[in-house]
Amino acid sequence: MTAAPSPDESLPAADLAAKYGLAVSGARPSLVEYVRQLWSRRHFILAFSQAKLTAQYSQAKLGQLWQVATPLLNAAVYYAIFGLILDASRGMSHDTYVPFLVTGVFVFTFTQSSLMSGVRAISGNLGLVRALHFPRASLPISFSLQQLQQLLFSMIVVFLVVIGFGNYPRLSWLLILPALVLQFLFNTGLAMIVARMGAKTPDLAQLMPFMLRTWMYASGVMFSINHMLAGRPDWIVRALQANPAAVYMDLMRYALIDGYGASNLPPHVWALALGWAVVVFCGGFVYFWKAEERYGRG
């Protein structure tokens, strides 16, 4: 079989393609079709996140033990600095402050590391993007899922600390589940937004740590916004408390810690948590999909 001229060759390429039902390669699918493709890749998304998680510590002698040891050490460092040296526990008893701090650190780290891996989701995996076909949103979603699994390991430490300071399991602990689901949706949405931005401007990965640190200090990870800003105008306190990182941290603390009552929560806290999750997830998804066919260029 050679490339001898055939009658079809007198046809223009577009007509020839139409005649045999050929489609343009690499065109962006519709939003519905995209969701369907993504769903059919769910096993890949899950397997990829688990593989990343396992590969992370596979060279270490202690292996997967680091999944728990790393967050524990993190909490110890924060406690030494903010609990003992800076004494940021204003307005809280020691027994409340330590679980308050540990919960805050882990919940914020969940958002933080989802964002950090999200910004490199495309730009750090160009080899994969240029070699295989799959809905690109698989990558940021998979990385967020990896962070969720990491957080579940950290929750072991959180439970130990919380119980160690005299807060025993009660019914309100069940609130962790909806709080985590909502935070995961929020994180994933945000990861998709920064993934698209990071794909176009890889420099963002350099800026991200600074933005995240600012966000961390503004969200009351190691201090209570209510107490720290007592006496300031009410709207400042409300604005800081309505920021999504603070909302998800406060919900988790409220669920776990006896001494952290509803008075510490901003009004309509569940509505805020739900609103942030839905708006950011849907917005992020559509924003990411809009550039689907351009990932991997250049």
Partner: protein, 259 residues
Amino acid sequence: MAEQNTGDRRPTVIADELHIVYRVNGAKTGKGSATAALSRIIKRGEPRGVRKVHAVRGVSFTAYRGEAIGLIGSNGSGKSTLLRAIAGLLPAEKGKVYTDGQPSLLGVNAALMSDLTGERNVILGGLAMGMSREQIKERYQRIVDFSGINDKGDFITLPMRTYSSGMAARLRFSIAAAKDHDVLMIDEALATGDRAFQKRSEERIRELRKEAGTVFLVSHNNKSIRDTCDRVLWLERGELRMDGPTEEVLKEYEKFTGK
């Protein structure tokens, strides 16, 4: 008259005046210092440090079902870029590529992780190519046998970083070849592996051709092109220099390269 021919000459890939341009960040010629970069940003916001590489320039061809097409040309002539564009992985600057079904690049290696065992990589690679869990389970044994990884002991349960480069390449090809492809593109995959494995690979490529449709093969090894392909595209500097039966094109190519 056209209808008589269409029975066995169904086009699977049509490239129409295809142009591909790469944009490379931070490769602008000139001073690479931080102050130079800063002044470039201040002077003009747009093309800061971005350099364009015109990798494929106006390539047109039509590939038909059942063909095995070799792509030859010196290094940097745009062969791999062309394959990526056909697969829809690189957007075209100008022109279009039409394809029948989803062309796949034999490039599963990007999804594999050297810290994981061969076993888990088979599953991960299969999922990355879009196979279902059941399909992978069903073909798992065939993939391992084909790769020959377990010929010298139980290597499949060891992390891939412990494999020799030949072993890793064999496993990669085995995973990628396990899927049925409409249009399959192979980029220098056959250069690795020992003679026995190369034979098996060529056999598998012939099988894939029979089952599926079109196979593209990039290689610098003229012998493996002769053994597997019946048509050859010769790219030089991003342009299609020749397109024809294997022998004709290879003869000209060998004259050109002075072999």
